[in-house]
C-alpha cells in the first residue's frame, strides 16, 4: 500500500467492548502507527480462533476448511485445535451445507459457513435469503439465526466472470441480513468477531487479494476482547474538499487516490464503509455536508449498486449541500473478462478515482466515461 496514513478518528470511545451480543453503535478505535503488523489472513484466522475458543457453540463448516485448512488457509490450525466436530469438511454442495448451517443456527449453534468464494453462494442463496434472513421475522423471533456466511467476494485476479463478482449489493438489498466488508486487518478482526457474536445472520465479504496484505495493528486490536460495531463506517482519512466512499479493496485505492490528490492541493476525506447493511448514512451525509462533493467507489456493477444507494441517500438528505454532481465509480457493466488487460479495464483503478475527484472539484475537463 502506498503511503497510507492512518488517522486518529472521531468521537469518544466506548468501554463496552466486552459486550457479547450487541456491539454498541458509537465505538471508535484509535491506535498509534508504530504498532505491529498483521496480515488480513492472520487477522481472520485469529478472530475465528478466539471466538471458537470463547464460545463452544461456534463451529466452522465448508469445503476444504479442515484438513486442507481452507482454500486460502484462513482456517489454518483450527482443525487440530478444535477437532472435526467443530471444523467440518463438507461435500461439495453449497445448498446443502448452507441449509445445514441455517438449521444448526435455528437450533442454538453458531455456525460460520465458509464459501470457497461468494460466487458459489449463488447455489445456496435461497437458504440465505428465504431462510436465514427471514426466519426471525416470519417466526416472530421464535427462531433466530446467529450465523455467519463468509469467504472471498469480488474480483480476484485472472479468474474470469464466474469467479469475479461483488455480491455486496445483492445481499445488502435484503432486510434481515447484515453485510460487512472488511478492508484492513483491524476491520477483519473486529468485524468478524462482531459478526460471530451477533444474533442475526451476517454476510461477511472478504477479498482474496487482501488476504496477504499486512496492516499495522494496535495492542487493542490484538486483544481478544476487541470487537467493532456493526453499521458504523470509519473515516480512514480526514479531508475537507471531497468525500470518497469505498469498501473492501477499494478503500486502499481510495487512500492512494487521496494521497495523489493531496499533492495537487485537493483534500479528500476517505470513508471506509465497513458495513453495507446497515449503511452508515449519518457518517456519509455528515462528511458530504462538510466537503460538498462525493465520489463513490465499488468493484461491483453500477446498476442498483452500493454507490446508487449512497447517491440516493445523499440526494434525499443533503441535496442542498452538493456543489457538484455525485460521481459514481463502479466495475464495468459487463461480466468480468479473463484477459488481464480487459480485466484491468473492467475494474476501477486509482486514476479513475483521481480523475473523478478532480472533475467534481472542477479541476479537469469532464471525460465521457469514468472507467
Amino acid at each position: 500500500m502506498l503511503g497510507i496514513i492512518r488517522q486518529k478518528v472521531g468521537a469518544g470511545c466506548s468501554s463496552a467492548m466486552l459486550q457479547r451480543i450487541r456491539p454498541v453503535a458509537s465505538v471508535c478505535r484509535s491506535y498509534s502507527s508504530s504498532a505491529k503488523e498483521m496480515t488480513v489472513r492472520d487477522a481472520l484466522n485469529s478472530a475465528l480462533d478466539e471466538e471458537m475458543s470463547a464460545d463452544p457453540k461456534v463451529f466452522l463448516m465448508g469445503e476444504e476448511v479442515g484438513e486442507y485448512q481452507g482454500a486460502y488457509k484462513i482456517s489454518k490450525g483450527l482443525l487440530d485445535k478444535y477437532g472435526p466436530d467443530r471444523v467440518l469438511d463438507t461435500p461439495i454442495t453449497e445448498a446443502g451445507f448452507t441449509g445445514i448451517g441455517v438449521g444448526a443456527a435455528y437450533y442454538g449453534l453458531k455456525p460460520v459457513v465458509e464459501f470457497m468464494t461468494f460466487n458459489f453462494s449463488m447455489q445456496a442463496i435461497d437458504h440465505i435469503i428465504n431462510s436465514a434472513a427471514k426466519s426471525n421475522y416470519m417466526s416472530a423471533s421464535q427462531i433466530n439465526v446467529p450465523i455467519v456466511f463468509r469467504g472471498p467476494n469480488g474480483a480476484a485476479a485472472g479468474v474470469g466472470a464466474q469467479h469475479s463478482q461483488c455480491y455486496a449489493a445483492w445481499f445488502a438489498a435484503i432486510p434481515g441480513l447484515k453485510v460487512l466488508t472488511p478492508y484492513s486487518s483491524e476491520d477483519a478482526r473486529g468485524l468478524l468477531k462482531a459478526a460471530i457474536r451477533d444474533p442475526d445472520p451476517v454476510v461477511f465479504l472478504e477479498n482474496e487479494l487482501l488476504y496477504g496484505e499486512s496492516f499495522p495493528v494496535s495492542a487493542e486490536v490484538l486483544d481478544s476482547s476487541f470487537c467493532l460495531p456493526i453499521g458504523k463506517a470509519k473515516i480512514e482519512r480526514e479531508g475537507k474538499d471531497i468525500t470518497i466512499t469505498a469498501f473492501s479493496k477499494m478503500v486502499g485505492y481510495a487512500l492512494q487516490a487521496a494521497e495523489i490528490l493531496a499533492k495537487e492541493g485537493i483534500s479528500a476525506e476517505v470513508i471506509n464503509l465497513r458495513s453495507i447493511r446497515p449503511l452508515d448514512r449519518a457518517t456519509i451525509n455528515t462528511s458530504v455536508r462538510k466537503t460538498n462533493r462525493l465520489v463513490t467507489v465499488e468493484e461491483g456493477f453500477p446498476q442498483h449498486g452500493v454507490g446508487a444507494e449512497i447517491c440516493t441517500s445523499v440526494v434525499e438528505e443533503s441535496f442542498g449541500y452538493l456543489d457538484a454532481p455525485v460521481e459514481r465509480i463502479a466495475g464495468a457493466d459487463v461480466p468480468m473478462p479473463y484477459a488481464a488487460n480487459l480485466e484491468r479495464l473492467a475494474l476501477p483503478q486509482v486514476e479513475d478515482i483521481v480523475r473523478a475527484a478532480k472533475r467534481a472539484c472542477y479541476r479537469s475537463v469532464p471525460l465521457a466515461a469514468s472507467a
Binding site: P84, D85, T93, A95, G96, G103, M138, S139, L279
Partner: protein
C-alpha cells in the same frame, strides 16, 4: 413393551432380507436387535456394526447380475476373498471392491419393486402374522380422535377459505394417518421440521384449535404476528419449526438441527416431512448425503402422495419411488403403507429407536394419496381422473380403516363416533369465531424481528409511517392498532 417391539421391528427386517437374499446365505442380525447407545464422538459408519448387508441385491436377476452382488462385512475385508483370489480386489479409501469378469451394468431397477410394510388390510383387519408395535386401547382411541379432529378442522377451515374469511388453506385429506400416527410414535423432545401438509403433528403435540385459528386469521395472538400466509404454523414450545414455503429447504436444515442435537448429546432426534415433489430438489439429496456422513439422528418421512400440484410422480422420478434412494446414500430405509396408522406408528417407533440409540439417519417412504386439491388455489379434477380421487377417498381412507380396527377391538362405537365429530365441529367453529374477533397485529409488529434489535433505518421508517397514518387516517385500515 419396549424390548418386545424392538425385537418385532427387527424381525420384520430379518424376514424381508431373508426372503430377498436367496442364495446369498446366512445373515447375522444379532447386533441389530441389541440396541446400544453409542458414545460421542461416534465411530465411523463402517465399524458401527458388524452386520452383513447385501449391497447389490439381484438375486432374482439374470445370472450375470447375480455375480455382481457382493457382501460387505465391515472390519473383515479379507472375507471378501471367498473365491481364494485374495489379491483381486480394489483397495479404495472407503473399502475394498471385488472385481467382476463379466461386462455387466447394474440394472436401473430391481426385478421387483420394494415391498410396502402394512399391518391392517383395507378393511381394518389385522393381517396375520404381521409384526408391529403394540398400541394400547387409550393411545389407539386418542390417535383416532385426533384424526377425526384433523379431518373436521380441514373441512371447516377449507369452507372458511371458500367464504373468503381466510386467504388460503391446504388440507391433509388422505394423509391423516401419516400425520397422527407418526406424531404419536415420537417423543415430545424430538424436533419437527415440517413441509406444510403435517398440521396433525402439531395437533398431536397440543397446539390448540385456537392457536391454529389465530394463525390462519393472522391476528394479534398468532405466534407469527400475522406475518405468514395461512397454514404456516410454528411453535417453539411444541418443538415444531415455523413452516417455510420454499420446498425442501427444511431437509438440510433438519440435518443441521440433528447435528446440533448430536453435539449436545441429546436423547432426541429430528423428524422432517416432505412430499414426493420435494425429493427432486437438490436439498433432498444434499440432506440425505450429509445426514449419512455426519451420522445425524434424523428421520426423513416422505409422504409420497402421488402428486406435486399437477405433476404425477412418474414425471418426478423414474426410480422405484423414494425408498430406494436411501441405500444409495447409505441410509437405512423402509416403505410403509401411509394409510395404515398401525404400520406407520410401528415404522416410526422403530426408526426413532434406531436414530437415537445408533445415531443414524432413517428414511421412511409412506405411500399415500393426496385426496384433496393441492391447495385452495387448485382444482385437481383438471389433471387427474375423478374416479381415482374417489377410489382413494372412499375405499382407502386411512381414518375409516383405523376406525374399523378399533371398533373390531371393542374400543370404539357408533355413539362415540357421533359424539367425537359433533364435539370437534363445535370446538373448531368456536375457535374460528374467537380468532375473527381478535384484533390484527399492531403497526409496531411490522418493524420488529427484522433484526434482533431494530436499527435506526427501521425506527425512522416506523416513525414516518405513524406520522403519515396520523395525517391520513382515512387511508389506513381502522382495525390495525397504531
Amino acid at each position: 413393551m419396549m424390548a418386545a417391539w424392538v425385537r418385532n421391528s427387527a424381525n420384520i427386517m430379518i424376514n424381508r432380507f431373508k426372503s430377498k437374499m436367496g442364495s446369498l446365505g446366512m445373515t447375522n442380525f444379532s447386533s441389530w436387535s441389541s440396541s446400544f447407545t453409542r458414545t460421542f464422538p461416534v465411530v465411523p459408519a463402517s465399524c458401527a456394526q458388524n452386520l452383513r448387508i447385501p449391497v447389490g441385491d439381484f438375486s432374482n436377476s439374470p445370472a450375470h447380475f447375480r455375480f455382481c452382488s457382493y457382501r460387505f462385512e465391515s472390519g473383515k475385508a479379507e472375507t471378501l476373498s471367498d473365491d481364494g483370489d485374495a489379491n483381486q480386489v480394489l483397495d479404495l479409501p472407503e473399502g475394498k471392491v471385488k472385481f467382476s469378469y463379466e461386462l455387466s451394468f447394474i440394472s436401473e431397477s430391481a426385478e421387483e419393486r420394494e415391498c410396502c410394510y402394512r399391518v391392517l388390510d383395507e378393511n381394518g383387519k389385522q393381517i396375520l402374522p404381521s409384526s408391529y408395535v403394540e398400541v394400547s386401547p387409550e393411545l389407539s382411541v386418542k390417535m383416532y380422535s385426533e384424526m377425526v379432529m384433523l379431518q373436521t378442522m380441514d373441512n371447516i377451515f377449507y369452507e372458511a377459505q371458500r367464504q373468503g374469511r381466510i386467504s388460503f388453506y391446504v388440507t391433509t385429506a388422505g394423509e391423516e394417518a401419516i400425520n397422527i400416527a407418526s406424531a404419536a410414535a415420537l417423543a415430545f423432545d424430538d424436533i419437527v421440521l415440517p413441509q406444510y401438509r403435517e398440521p396433525g403433528v402439531l395437533l398431536w403435540r397440543g397446539f390448540t384449535l385456537q392457536e391454529f385459528a389465530n394463525q390462519c386469521f393472522g391476528n394479534k395472538a398468532d405466534y407469527g404476528k400475522g406475518r405468514q400466509m395461512p397454514i404456516h404454523y410454528g411453535s417453539n414450545k411444541h418443538n415444531y419449526f415455523t413452516i417455510s414455503s420454499t420446498i425442501a429447504t427444511q431437509l438440510p436444515q433438519a440435518v443441521g438441527v440433528a447435528y446440533s442435537l448430536k453435539m449436545d448429546r441429546k436423547d432426541a432426534c429430528v423428524v422432517t416431512y416432505f412430499g414426493d415433489g420435494g425429493t427432486s430438489e437438490g436439498d433432498f439429496h444434499a440432506a440425505l448425503n450429509f445426514a449419512a456422513v455426519t451420522e445425524a439422528p434424523v428421520i426423513f418421512i416422505c409422504r409420497n402422495n402421488g402428486w406435486a400440484i399437477s405433476t404425477p410422480t412418474s414425471d418426478q422420478f423414474r426410480s422405484d419411488g423414494v425408498v430406494v434412494k436411501g441405500r444409495a446414500y447409505g441410509i437405512r430405509s423402509i416403505r410403509v403403507d401411509g394409510n395404515d396408522a398401525l404400520a406407520m406408528y410401528s415404522a416410526v417407533s422403530a426408526a426413532r429407536e434406531m436414530a437415537v440409540s445408533e445415531q443414524r439417519p432413517i428414511l421412511i417412504e409412506a405411500l399415500t394419496y393426496r385426496v384433496g386439491h393441492h391447495s385452495t388455489s387448485d382444482d385437481s379434477t383438471k389433471y387427474r381422473p375423478v374416479d381415482e380421487i374417489e377410489r382413494w377417498k372412499i375405499e382407502r381412507d386411512p381414518v375409516t380403516r383405523f376406525r374399523k380396527w378399533i371398533e373390531s377391538n371393542g374400543w370404539w362405537s357408533e355413539k362415540a363416533e357421533i359424539e367425537a365429530r359433533n364435539s370437534a365441529r363445535k370446538q373448531i367453529l368456536h375457535a374460528i369465531q374467537e380468532a375473527e374477533k381478535v384484533e390484527k397485529p399492531p403497526v409496531a409488529d411490522m418493524f420488529t424481528d427484522v433484526y434482533d434489535c431494530p436499527p435506526s433505518n427501521l425506527l425512522e421508517q416506523e416513525k414516518l409511517l405513524r406520522e403519515t397514518i396520523k395525517r391520513h387516517p382515512q387511508d389506513y385500515p381502522s382495525d390495525v392498532p397504531v
